[in-house]
């Protein structure tokens, strides 16, 4: 934990230096997507890694944010910020309503319930074509705040990079706070946490709502960045990708989420030259990761590094 400020600083330096080596907008786009995924994975890691719960429908909340932005700005003429807040509050409200019944479930049942939720959201987005444009999606206007408009991949890059650093800082604070300690405790030993006065169902619900809110905000911002939304944003496969980022990077590791997101975003691009075999290679690499680094990339390497010292 004590090394983390240095790691945060190091990441800041890397993010600040990256534009010097990024040759064109294609690479900018990849890095921006890495950063977006890292932020969403970070929020999901609070739920999966720290609280020990699972959500296989997290892309659904991302989709809610993206579509709230698209629909409210295009059809109703709302200001982007209003739409962003409305989407996030809506996603949080949906999560809150479902949290109580969902978190009475555990393990496989919890996985099924969240999976179903994600699929439902994706289906609604696909079928309500009158509002959502259906499978074809719809265009989204630019993000302008107080007369200033974020424009071009460089500005977006700085915007998302700053958001990532602030998110990491906030998540670190959170898990070190009394709330975060209780969250980690209910993961480690639910009975002990209960006996210490932690209302475990409530805590699980709060962090679920929070990570839904987080995902929705990122969905809204992503919609503005891409300028277009399709139901794929809320897709089941994106949910699985997010969970994979958390697990491969390292559960309960903040920088694990960042590394996992970077890796899983870059891999398909790097493997694209394999022509048709990229999915196979992708799966194989993931399997090897899980076999040889079951605790996740960052925690395993961190443990190896400290042992050598």
């Amino acid at each position: 934990m004590r090394r983390a400020p240095i790691a945060l600083l190091a990441l800041g330096v890397v993010l600040a230096a990256l534009p010097l080596v990024l040759p064109n907008s294609y690479y900018y786009d990849i890095v921006i997507r890495m950063v977006i995924n890292a932020i969403v994975a970070l929020g999901l890691n609070l739920l999966i890694g720290f609280a020990g719960q699972i959500s296989l429908g997290h892309a659904g909340f991302f989709g809610i944010g993206a579509y709230a932005t698209a629909i409210l700005t295009a059809h109703l003429g709302w200001h982007p910020l209003q739409a962003l807040v409305a989407g996030a509050v809506g996603a949080a409200a949906l999560a809150a309503i479902l949290a109580r019944p969902i978190f009475r479930l555990r393990g496989h049942y919890l996985a099924m319930a969240t999976l179903g939720l994600g699929i439902l959201i994706a289906m609604v987005l696909k079928n309500e074509a009158a509002y959502t444009g259906g499978p074809d999606g719809m265009a989204v206007g630019p993000l302008s705040v107080f007369g200033y408009q974020i424009d071009g991949e460089k500005q977006w890059y700085w915007f998302f990079a700053a958001t990532l650093l602030v998110s990491i800082w906030a998540c670190r604070n959170l898990i070190d706070s009394p709330f975060g300690r209780a969250l980690r405790a209910l993961h480690g030993c639910e009975v002990a946490a209960q006996m210490a006065g932690v209302d475990v169902v409530r805590y699980k619900a709060i962090i679920f709502v929070f990570s839904a809110f987080f995902a929705s905000v990122m969905g809204s911002l992503t919609a503005h960045y891409v300028g277009f939304v399709t139901p794929n944003l809320a897709d089941f496969f994106y949910s699985i990708e997010l969970v994979t980022m958390v697990v491969v990077g390292g559960m309960a590791s903040i920088f694990g989420s960042v590394v996992g997101a970077a890796l899983l975003t870059a891999l398909p691009q790097a493997l694209a030259t394999l022509e048709g075999w990229e999915t196979v290679a992708f799966g194989l690499i993931l399997m090897l990761f899980m076999v040889f680094l079951p605790a996740g990339l960052v925690p395993t390497l961190a443990a190896r590094f400290t042992r050598r010292q």
Partner: protein
């Protein structure tokens, strides 16, 4: 003053009466022990009082207030704390954090304030860290102040649970076999520790198999057998009771 009053408490597990019509009172500031042969229902009784199980019938009152069937986190708010016979330690936390968890309810648990690292939250947490370290020294864990809980031996974890329970500053402390599985030296240390707690006027309800410890420190003793109350009394009364001797050693033919 009667702190805890249990009346007519019963628990059936699919027809088997694990605890049957048990009644007793615990006076404030005393050490009250529950003993009995294996399977007598001691831990079940603890689990009923601390909200882990729901009683089938009966009543539990804390200073006259009805607390029957409340969940553990509500009971913690009312000043109950306990340790567990089979360890319940958060292995993903450090030893110190486990003890700090015990004081959960005394802290500001707001998510947003925590996330923005409000100075007041940080200060309170730093003060708690000191208190938790102090408690760890008190229970004899000063060598583990910087350890992850997962790296601690069994005997130390037993004491860590006691420190965590104490961190809650409970009105009523339940210790479920604190000396179980320990060697004679460790048992003597736990014995001394529980005695220190008793000297601090803390009300302790103790389940323990180590008879020397029980007889030494208990003000009152409740003997359970087959889920029923067999005898209740002082150490001397219980020790000489023919029913108790029969339950432990078997009845002479």
């Amino acid at each position: 003053m009667v702190l805890l009053e249990v009346s007519g408490l019963s628990k059936a597990f699919s027809g088997v009466m694990a605890v049957q019509d048990v009644s007793f009172r615990v006076e404030a500031g005393l050490v009250y022990s529950v003993i009995g042969p294996n399977g007598a229902g001691k831990t079940t009784l603890f689990n009923l009082i601390t909200g882990i199980y729901q009683p089938s019938s009966g009543e539990i009152r804390l200073e006259g207030e009805q607390i029957t069937g409340l969940p553990p986190h509500r009971l913690a708010q009312k000043g109950l704390a306990r340790t567990f016979q089979n360890l319940q330690v958060c292995m993903n936390l450090s030893a110190l954090e486990n003890v700090m968890l015990g004081a959960h309810l005394s802290l500001d648990r707001n998510l947003l304030k925590g996330m923005l690292s409000f100075p007041r939250i940080r200060r309170a947490d730093r003060a708690l860290r000191e208190q938790a370290a102090e408690l760890m020294r008190f229970v004899g864990l000063k060598d583990y102040l910087g350890s992850p809980a997962g790296a601690m031996p069994y005997g130390a974890l037993k004491r860590l649970e006691i420190a965590r329970a104490l961190a809650a500053k409970p009105r009523l402390l339940f210790l479920d076999e604190p000396a179980a599985g320990l060697n004679p030296k460790e048992t003597a240390q736990i014995d001394a520790l529980v005695r220190q707690l008793a000297d601090r006027e803390l009300t302790v309800v103790l389940v323990e198999h180590d008879m020397k410890m029980v007889m030494n420190i208990s003000d009152r003793i409740l003997v359970l057998n087959y889920g029923k109350k067999l005898v209740e009394g002082s150490a001397r009364e219980v020790r000489n009771d023919p029913e108790v001797i029969a339950a432990y050693l078997g009845r002479a033919a």
